[in-house]
């Protein structure tokens, strides 16, 4: 699999008293290099923003089409608004011993998927499959912490619209252990808890919330 963009170098700075910043060097399939910097709310954010800048610079230099150019044509073909809610979403995985680097790699891999599909002429808004199922493959990395072995993995997923939430929840919480007891913290109108309970019909749920009014609404929605 040819990756359009790859990370050659990634450097991040952060701390409690400074703005997080990142410098990234990307290579493309032709081994061209571009360097970009970014700042952000934290180191992950900064790395993402640097990646966004680098990817855009490189695409401009290579005269590649915009990431969502095909969406415009689809909309024109199907009528205005046809593409609403169908923004291109792709998943990607990133593996590294550091969560910042793993996040940047996951992001870039998702971008690579969009680019590859574009190069094959697949409309940017097309779905990889019918139905609302979100596919994600968790990639695990193992790092060390003071408390011993911990695993942190990062994936980039195509998030659902709210109506698709049931399938997503089922995927997200797919567990080897059976789920029979569910707690929803800050349950609000009960949407999240209801989605989980639809995915697990045999499960019993408990919702808690600060607001008695929201609890009343949630209770009537779930009844």
């Amino acid at each position: 699999m040819v990756h359009r963009f790859a990370i050659a170098e990634l450097e991040v700075h952060g701390g409690t008293a400074v703005d997080a910043s990142a410098r990234i060097v990307l290579t493309d399939a032709d081994n061209g290099k571009v360097e970009a910097t970014g700042t952000g709310n934290g180191m992950i954010d900064a790395a993402m923003n640097a990646g966004v800048g680098g990817e855009r610079h490189r695409r401009r230099a290579a005269r590649l089409p915009g990431l969502v150019g095909d969406e415009r044509r689809r909309r024109a073909r199907r009528g205005r608004g046809a593409a609403r809610g169908r923004r291109p979403r792709r998943d990607g995985r990133g593996v590294a011993t550091d969560v910042v680097e793993a996040s940047a790699r996951a992001y870039l891999n998702a971008v690579n998927k969009i680019v590859r599909l574009q190069e094959r002429g697949v409309p940017a808004g097309a779905r990889p499959h019918d139905g609302p199922v979100v596919r994600w493959a968790p990639s695990s990395i193992v790092g060390s912490s003071r408390r011993g072995r911990r695993t942190i993995s990062t994936s980039v997923i195509r998030l659902p619209h709210r109506a698709e939430g049931h399938a997503v929840l089922r995927e997200l919480v797919a567990a080897s252990t059976p789920i029979t007891r569910v707690l929803d913290v800050g349950t609000g109108d009960g949407y999240t808890l209801g989605s989980v309970l639809l995915a697990y019909p045999d499960a019993t749920g408990v919702g808690i919330d600060f607001s008695p009014e929201m609890l009343d609404r949630g209770a009537s929605a779930l009844r």
């Binding site: 934290g42 609403r84 980039v156 800050g186 919330d209 779930l222």
Partner: protein
């Protein structure tokens, strides 16, 4: 006090503390709620939730990528399409790195991050960008 039914129990009233539920849960979810608590309360809450997870149980939470602290106020939260001035003052979202540190220190065995990437629509001022705006946390309690 909790109210339960076989399938769709009525949510139960609570205050600013987890209810005195003796049971352990296989799954705990929370959607855009915990960031309304003060940061120190948020950290304590994650510890209380861990204590209520059954061995091998999971905690899942979607959260916005941006944070609402002073540093973030100088960053435009592009992914969500709102300005810092429009940010809900009730939000006290902490940085992702901070939150991950809490979960590690509290003893969650695994934490998985799922980051949304959605290209902006043509009408968006950020057209052409792809960047994550929502992060899903999936934390696992160890089997021990």
């Amino acid at each position: 006090m909790t109210t339960r039914a076989s399938r769709f129990p009525a949510p139960t009233t609570t205050n600013n503390r987890c209810p005195a539920i003796s049971d352990r849960f296989d799954l705990i979810v929370s959607s855009f709620a915990i960031h309304h608590c003060a940061p120190e309360r948020q950290r304590a809450l994650y510890g209380e939730l861990l204590a209520r997870l059954a061995p091998g149980g999971r905690y899942r939470e979607p959260r916005a990528r941006r944070v609402a602290d002073a540093r973030a106020a100088r960053c435009v939260p592009r992914g969500l399409g709102i300005t810092p001035e429009e940010e809900d003052p009730a939000n006290q979202l902490v940085g992702l790195e901070t939150q991950l540190g809490w979960l590690r220190d509290l003893g969650y065995a695994e934490v998985e991050l799922l980051l949304e990437v959605a290209a902006s629509s043509r009408s968006s001022p950020e057209y052409g960008r792809t960047e994550p705006s929502v992060v899903h946390l999936l934390a696992l309690r160890g089997s021990g």
